[in-house]
């Protein structure tokens, strides 16, 4: 099972959490990205995500490596991002981190989502009822 994956399939949080299974872990923190029904006042019909998958999976793995270098207590990291057409309410990304105990899990999760939005070659097109646009945070 891949820990870092770009997929066109529907995402399940349980399925990603299961990738971390290990008797040594006691705590998992998860970030779930969901398609919002509006953005800056415009009603979203759907989102179109596109990736450069071969590079994106490598960048996701790099984020995992960065986290494990910085927070020694993080046991495993899994990041799965969906691409293609996503409807409002559907899950775009699941980031899951495991540890024996909870300290540091939250800082590391925060770091993971920030880095994902910075370095991973995935693009998002918002399709509104009255137009569309490729969006980024930079």
């Amino acid at each position: 099972m891949k820990l870092f994956e770009i997929t066109t399939e529907k995402l399940s949080v349980d399925e990603v959490v299961a990738r971390l299974a290990d008797p040594a872990i006691g705590a998992i923190s998860v970030f779930v990205g969901v398609v919002r029904g509006d953005t800056e006042g415009r009603k979203v019909r759907y989102l179109e995500y596109e990736a450069y998958p071969e590079m994106a999976e490598g960048m996701l793995r790099q984020i995992g490596d960065e986290i494990q270098a910085r927070w020694k207590t993080i046991h495993k990291v899994s990041i799965v991002h969906r691409v293609g057409r996503l409807e409002v309410g559907e899950i775009s990304v699941v980031i899951a981190l495991s540890a024996a105990h909870r300290p540091e899990l939250f800082d590391a999760l925060h770091y993971a989502i920030d880095r994902l939005k910075e370095i991973v070659p995935i693009w998002k097109k918002e399709v509104w009822t009255d137009g569309s646009e490729w969006r980024s945070e930079r």
Binding site: G33, E50, Y52, I122, S136
Partner: protein, 81 residues
């Protein structure tokens, strides 16, 4: 030498192509390729300032030297999450 250029998102749509082979003089750099693209594809010019370039799936610098067969991706501002 030849490199394979890949385009995504808004650039892919503007160009209406996902990739193309580009002929370059031996020893050309990323910057030289960007200049060539700007010249030959005016429709991409407005994107190039905010675009990073990845060579063989790693982010590269303008002075990075290209080699025959390299995969060069134009990476507009990402929007994952």
């Amino acid at each position: 030498m030849k490199v394979k250029a890949k385009f995504f998102a808004a650039m892919r749509e503007a160009l209406d192509r996902t990739e193309m082979e580009i002929e370059l003089p031996s020893g050309a750099t990323v910057q030289q390729l960007v200049n060539l693209i700007a010249e030959q594809y005016p429709v991409l010019r407005s994107y190039l300032d905010s675009t990073l370039v990845a060579v063989n799936r790693k982010y590269a610098l303008p002075q990075t030297e290209l080699h025959d067969g390299d995969e060069v991706a134009f990476v507009p501002p990402v929007g994952g999450g």
